[in-house]
């Protein structure tokens, strides 16, 4: 009495599709590095698929754009220290996150995803399917491959100086400021850059 369907031509092609690699794109603008890393690692390993099995090679490609605008919580840019120890004398290097981000705007995204993939042998292969771009530009062949977009892990907040004066007037007054109160977020402050100690005897440029 058993009913067994014969695999049709359509079913066979569907199965090829089932194991095909998908390309996802995600915008890292103002996204927390750890949350984003967790989400991307999930897709790189293929854990979002119902067919997932640790021994099945079902991971997807993930394209991350706007890596330069990735965010960290509170003072984490200063207090998150990445340790690069090469196990040789004088090779120890503990570099804070902001310094790495200055050197390479994509490196923080890479490191957080690599950490989220877990300490296993597969992660070196899985990380190869991660494509990081500092801004919204990407090569044409990557754009053509992208077939789905992932939702961000956080809401992108609007900066104070991005509100127009009309929007500001419409917003309900919660606090009454005193006369002549200086609002420090009227204009975004320019990044003063890294402080460098002037060397005595060096000429001014």
């Amino acid at each position: 009495m058993s009913y067994r369907r014969v695999a049709s031509r359509f079913d066979r092609v569907n199965q090829w599709l089932q194991f095909s690699r998908q390309w996802h794109v995600i915008d890292a603008n103002q996204q927390d590095a750890e949350l984003l890393g967790d989400k991307i690692a999930r897709y790189l390993a293929g854990k979002h698929k119902p067919i997932y099995h640790p021994e099945t090679d079902c991971g997807d490609h993930v394209v991350v754009t706007n890596c330069k605008d990735i965010a960290m919580h509170a003072f984490d840019w200063k207090h998150t220290v990445y340790k690069f120890n090469m196990e040789y004398p004088k090779s120890k290097a503990d570099i804070p996150a902001w310094q790495i981000h200055e050197y390479d705007p994509c490196r923080i995204a890479f490191l957080s995803v690599y950490r989220s993939l877990g300490n296993n042998l597969l992660r070196r292969r899985l990380i190869q399917r991660l494509h990081l771009f500092p801004d919204s530009e990407m090569p044409e062949f990557v754009r053509q491959n992208v077939g789905s977009q992932l939702r961000q892990v956080q809401e992108v907040v609007k900066r104070a100086d991005e509100y127009t004066s009309e929007e500001r007037a419409r917003f309900p007054k919660v606090v009454k400021f005193a006369e002549g109160h200086v609002v420090d977020w009227e204009k975004s402050i320019q990044n003063p850059g890294r402080h460098s100690k002037p060397v005595p005897g060096q000429k001014e440029k």
């Binding site: 939702r151 809401e155 309900p172």
Partner: protein
């Protein structure tokens, strides 16, 4: 040895290969022998033999079981042959033979009537397949009605016409209300 060899004694020889497999196969997939129970159910237990001693203390439970319950069980299950075999000075045992050719035996030494009854029912309800750790929790005789999953099964169809990345697919969705939204919804007086 009797002049005419008994068939019962020959059976372990041709089921030897199956018996070998019985011990070390620890995990298997869930399956039903011969699609049993799809339209009608056939008990996989074919015959069951209760061996006991008529006088020894260790078969008291088995003897009580035979006296009180076995006739009723036999009446309820006409498809199963039940033997009660008295063997002098032996340890009592319950031996069950199944449709797949396997034999299971339970040593009923010093068992009470209740324990014997429990084991008897266990042997009745088994299929003869070894008890193993299941590799998957479910099995299906028919393929899924839904069809197999593909990467595009749950993909929003709105993504087909847009060129990615697009802003409307990127926005984070949340049920939580932010402070700004709260103030805008409940304006202070």
């Amino acid at each position: 040895m009797p002049s005419v060899p008994r068939v019962d004694r020959l059976k372990p020889i041709y089921t030897a290969a199956k018996a070998l497999n019985f011990g070390w196969r620890f995990s298997d997939f869930l399956k039903i022998p011969a699609y049993n129970g799809i339209s009608r159910y056939t008990n996989q237990l074919h015959r069951i033999t209760v061996r006991f001693c008529k006088q020894s203390e260790s078969s008291v439970g088995v003897r009580n079981f035979i006296e009180n319950q076995i006739v009723e069980i036999g009446r309820k299950n006409p498809s199963v042959v039940i033997y009660a075999q008295p063997v002098r000075n032996s340890n009592p045992s319950i031996r069950a033979e199944y449709g797949n050719g396997r034999t299971l035996q339970i040593n009923a030494k010093n068992m009470t009537e209740t324990e014997v009854s429990k084991d008897f029912h266990l042997l009745f309800s088994r299929s003869g397949e070894p008890v193993v750790k299941l590799e998957s929790r479910q099995s299906a005789l028919c393929p899924s009605v839904q069809g197999q999953w593909t990467p595009i099964t749950w993909l929003p169809t709105a993504m087909n016409t847009e060129s990615l990345p697009a802003k409307q697919f990127s926005e984070h969705k949340s049920t939580a209300t932010s402070a700004t939204e709260y103030i805008l919804q409940n304006q202070p007086k």
